[in-house]
């Protein structure tokens, strides 16, 4: 009995089977960069709130007009300035138009202007900033001074001038926002590329014989993706705000087309009697811009490798 016990215990001092050692272990579970960032993003309550609100407005813009019984320009003299009720969910304005329907059309314009201008700015900014930063030297000098000149003219001036030439419509608002809009992105990308191109992985690609285009887009830009996305998420609210502002001061979307800015303008005159009419567009603008900012911040934190 004692013998067997002793024998059992001494077994502990036998060499271990090499397969149990696994010395080339890998510490962390395999996760791609984006899935890891998504994991961090999910934990950020404000960012998730922002995402939900933005999705809500997108759904509103797409499906809102379909579920509404009214059109944005249908006037009804019987129901002027009605308060919210089961037929007119958000009430009507001074021409008797349904505010909910108009709000949905406004969301279409705001979000369209916001996302499309951001996309255009992204493409121009990344390519321009990337080339400027990567090539460097005189090219960089000339490209950056050009940017400085464009930037020196107030951006509102571009918008108003283009409105005068091309008329007040979504297209001219877009062009007006985009002419100076990509500059921030280009500067951001250029800075990133300049610091990244000195890193050893970029040198390694160079030594391997990769072409400049490959180095710039496959290696450098992809590593600057975090700051680029953050910059992008701040471009969207900026464009939405610009559109709303232009429509509010009366040079943007022209009546009867609805935009949040022009709705705010319309209800401004009735602010003492029907303040609720002003509330809806303002609330929509505020909520969207707030949420997009939260979203941008959340994405920025999630993509920052230091938070790993």
């Amino acid at each position: 009995m004692d013998d067997t016990a002793e024998k059992l215990k001494s077994d502990w001092f036998l060499p271990i089977d090499p397969s149990e050692k696994n010395d080339e272990f890998i510490a962390v579970e395999s996760k791609s960069f984006l899935s890891e960032a998504w994991g961090r993003f999910k934990k950020n309550k404000r960012a998730v709130f922002g995402l939900i609100v933005v999705i809500f407005f997108i759904l509103l813009a797409v499906f809102g007009p379909l579920i509404s019984k009214f059109t944005y320009d249908e006037q009804n003299a019987d129901v002027l300035n009605v308060l919210p009720n089961p037929t007119y969910w958000l009430g009507t304005d001074k021409f008797g138009r349904d505010i909910f329907t108009r709000l949905c059309y406004g969301a279409r314009i705001s979000l369209f202007v916001g996302f499309v201008s951001a996309l255009i700015n992204l493409i121009i900014g990344v390519v321009y900033g990337g080339i400027s930063g990567y090539v460097g030297g005189k090219t960089d000098m000339i490209m950056m001074r050009t940017v400085d000149i464009i930037y020196a003219v107030p951006s509102m001036l571009y918008v108003i001038l283009i409105m005068l030439v091309l008329g007040a419509n979504v297209k001219s608002i877009l062009i007006g926002i985009c002419i100076p809009g990509w500059i921030g992105m280009a500067r951001q990308v250029r800075g990133q590329i300049i610091s990244l191109k000195e890193q050893e992985f970029a040198l390694a690609a160079l030594v391997l014989g990769a072409s400049s285009r490959r180095i710039l887009f496959k290696h450098l830009t992809i590593n600057a993706i975090g700051p680029i996305i953050v910059q992008l998420t701040f471009l969207v609210p900026q464009a939405i705000f610009t559109e709303a502002f232009l429509s509010f001061v009366g040079v943007g979307i022209s009546a009867p087309m609805a935009s949040w800015g022009s709705m705010a303008q319309d209800s401004r005159q009735l602010i003492t009697m029907y303040p609720i009419q002003l509330l809806w567009p303002t609330l929509a603008i505020c909520l969207t811009i707030f949420s997009l900012n939260f979203l941008g911040e959340g994405i920025g934190d999630a993509l920052n490798p230091k938070n790993r």
Partner: protein, 358 residues
């Protein structure tokens, strides 16, 4: 007790007397502009010449700012050389255009210092190792994957690591991924730019042994840049000592460590802390005063003159030539034929004692 599994020592194959790389009088000056003043130049590499044979390792040692990394990068044309000539198997590659250089890129490669920065964090290990083959349009996609797995095995990693991302690996493992990427092109000459200085002590030997094994199997030549003297000695056949952009001494590694000629080499070797307490206690150190001067304003004459315990008047005026003794080169006036005639042997220590007596 079981004997620790002995790793075979590879003698680095045979060094074939076949010149692979010839570097002649290469200079690399960097321009620094300060406001509206005249541009100044950092003379990072200053008239450096050497040759590397097939299957040989040339070690390059020196302190930070001595230009050893700049030299390595100049050879690879990451930096454009200011003057001089670089010949690969007799072909002049100093000023080749990017396109014409491409075939040489396959043959001349580099291993980088920082295992964290040298791999693109957004790509998988498989993509990283396959990249050189994609760039040079080698093999078809299926064959590439097989080769990546083969290379992973060569460097001691598992083939199924192919889909992992670099940040999941430790420093030593990443360095091996970098080596696998380099090997994908079957290079003949690799510049190793401090490949072990960012690694833990217990991992350094893994990388050194791997490099030696690869050399023995494929006859690759290395230019091994490092500041760890012990490890450089181990891997190198010959060693060059750099100071302020100049190679001040060059020769077979064992000989240089046994009997350094140049006063700087003497000081450098004596300053190295030896991991052996007994010899550390008895070791006589030559403590240099001060630090390496700025390469923007290098001293006139010999670069080492400001710190050299033997400095003479000549040294203040002119840069000494390289004097050749067998396979050794030393750039110091103490070894000029005139000075050597004044003393019987190579030993210069008596001069120092005499100087102190004066």
């Amino acid at each position: 007790m079981k004997v620790i599994s002995q790793f075979l020592r590879f003698d680095g194959g045979d060094i074939i007397n076949e010149k692979l790389l010839e570097v002649k009088d290469v200079c690399k000056y960097f321009e620094v502009k300060r406001g509206y003043k005249e541009p100044q130049y950092v003379k990072a590499v200053n008239h450096v010449s050497f040759e590397i044979n097939k299957g040989e390792t040339l070690g390059l040692v020196g302190e930070s700012g001595c230009g050893k990394s700049s030299l390595g990068r100049t050879l690879l044309r990451i930096y454009e050389p200011t003057s001089g000539s670089i010949k690969y198997r007799g072909d002049e590659i100093t000023h080749l255009s990017k396109h014409r250089l491409l075939p040489y890129r396959k043959k001349i490669q580099m291993i980088f210092q920082d295992p964290y920065a040298s791999l693109n964090a957004r790509l998988t290990v498989g993509e990283i190792i396959a990249e050189p083959m994609v760039i040079h349009k080698m093999y078809n996609p299926k064959h590439r994957i097989e080769r990546v797995q083969e290379l992973l095995k060569t460097v001691g990693l598992k083939p199924d690591h192919i889909r992992r991302y670099p940040h999941e690996f430790s420093g030593g493992q990443r360095q091996r991924i970098g080596i696998a990427r380099t090997l994908a092109l079957d290079p003949e000459f690799i510049v190793c730019d401090e490949p072990i200085s960012a690694l833990d002590v217990s991992i350094q030997a893994q990388v050194i042994n791997l490099l030696e094994k690869i050399q023995a199997e494929r006859g690759i030549s290395y230019l091994f840049i490092a500041h760890d003297l012990g490890m450089v000695k181990h891997i190198s056949h010959r060693i060059g000592v750099m100071y302020l952009g100049h190679i001040v001494e060059m020769g077979p590694s064992n000989e240089i460590y046994r009997a350094p000629y140049h006063p700087y080499t003497k000081a450098l070797l004596s300053a190295e802390p030896i991991p052996d307490p007994k010899s550390a206690r008895t070791k006589k150190r030559i403590l240099l005063e001060g630090e390496i001067p700025s390469p923007i304003n290098p001293p006139k004459g010999c670069p080492f003159v400001t710190r050299c315990p033997y400095a003479m008047e000549d040294c203040q005026v002119a840069m000494p030539n390289s004097y050749k003794f067998g396979d050794r080169l030393v750039a110091c006036f103490l070894y000029s034929p005139r000075r050597l005639r004044q003393r019987e042997n190579f030993s210069i220590e008596p001069l120092l004692n005499k100087k102190q007596e004066d």
